[in-house]
């Protein structure tokens, strides 16, 4: 009898301790990108990202919120990406409400590498579930081709120099230097400059933006009292190339919305918020901000410059060898 009682008590304790976890396992979180992850490229076009939350029955969960955090790829390897200040930093952090079990947003990935997307779901009944997704964004092929061409050019400069120096003809030195300058030279900063927001019914507060550090973007309805639920569309556009870097469409918000977002390009950006509701005039709020660029530290410059110098040196050695054989 006492053994049965002990067994029953033990089962109750297990159920009490691990019950929420078991319930969380019933929740499934799916992540999808369009185009598919293999075709994503940095600084191309903004990708469509979506999360689907389903319950134990496989049907989309209707009510709940999803906390999303996107982290940039960590620094790794000898050569850095073209924006090393962004490496390993938090890119965006937001909490979006579910619509038919889904959340959708658009994002322009800034650099190549392995991204980490952490998702925390909280259901209307308090159910919680978390999942992390890792995906790799590959570099644009044309950048690798440009790097290959540039490297080959440096090698050839070294090769020609090696041949000339071996032949001891000083008058050709000027030609080699001219070639070096020609190969090296071919081929767009910033303080907050806010424009007045359109429409007086809403406001947009954006922290000063620096590359490498997320800024808080806060949209809110003006006035006190009950705030109606509106469909908010938030778009961030990089103005220099007129590219949408982030967008979230018609998310239901009750008076305010806040998110952390890192501007990864040190140039002008426009943040536009459009709040709509049936029977109401849409409220548009817009702000242009200048993002402060941050110079990468010298230590991340050294590997790339060393790589180029080694290519020239190898060219010189090859040029001398070709002349003497």
């Amino acid at each position: 009898m006492s053994l049965k009682f002990f067994s029953l008590s033990l089962q109750l304790v297990v159920l009490f301790l691990f019950g929420p976890l078991l319930r969380a396992e019933e929740i499934s979180i799916y992540f999808k990108t369009a185009p598919i992850a293999e075709l994503l490229r940095p600084n191309g076009d903004a990708a469509s990202l979506s999360l689907l939350i389903t319950g134990a029955d496989g049907r989309p969960v209707n009510e709940g919120t999803v906390a999303i955090r996107l982290d940039a790829p960590k620094a790794g390897g000898f050569l850095s990406t073209d924006v090393p200040v962004v490496e390993g930093t938090q890119l965006s952090e937001m909490r979006l409400p579910l619509r038919q079990g889904r959340v959708n947003w658009k994002y322009l990935f800034p650099i190549r590498g392995r991204y980490n997307l952490a998702v925390d779901f909280t259901g209307a009944d308090g159910t919680k579930s978390s999942k992390s997704f890792q995906f790799t964004v590959r570099e644009n092929r044309h950048k690798w081709i440009a790097l290959g061409g540039f490297s080959l050019g440096l090698f050839l400069v070294g090769f020609i120099a090696g041949r000339i120096f071996t032949g001891a003809r000083a008058k050709a030195a000027a030609f080699v230097l001219a070639v070096a300058f020609f190969v090296a030279a071919t081929a767009t900063g910033l303080k907050a400059q806010d424009t007045a927001s359109e429409g007086s019914a809403a406001r947009l507060d954006i922290e000063p933006a620096f590359v490498g550090k997320p800024s808080r973007i806060h949209w809110s309805l003006d006035g006190a009292g009950a705030k109606p639920v509106l469909a908010l569309t938030l778009t961030i556009t990089q103005l220099e190339e007129n590219k949408v870097v982030f967008a979230v469409e018609r998310i239901p918000v009750a008076g305010d919305f806040s998110m952390g977002f890192q501007f990864t390009d040190g140039s002008e950006h426009r943040v536009t918020a459009l709040a709509e509701a049936q029977g109401r005039v849409p409220i548009k709020t817009e702000q242009v901000i200048n993002v402060t660029a941050v110079e990468p530290p010298m230590r991340v410059m050294i590997p790339a410059l060393s790589f180029f110098m080694v290519l020239i040196a190898l060219g010189i050695v090859a040029g001398r060898w070709s002349k003497r054989r």
Binding site: R112, V157, A184, T188
Partner: protein, 62 residues
Amino acid sequence: MEKTVASRLFIALPEQISFLIKSGIFLMVCGATLFIALASSYPAVHDTLHNVRHALAVVPCH
């Protein structure tokens, strides 16, 4: 001409040493040129070559 000048100034050097000196000077000039073009933050140079830096995938910029 180089040989003539060198012999008149009595600074004629063995070919290997001459090659090393010339190569060294050449590498320093190339290094300085690459540093100014790809790594310096001087606005006139940076703004002109900003797209080139990004196009090379491995050159750090902002």
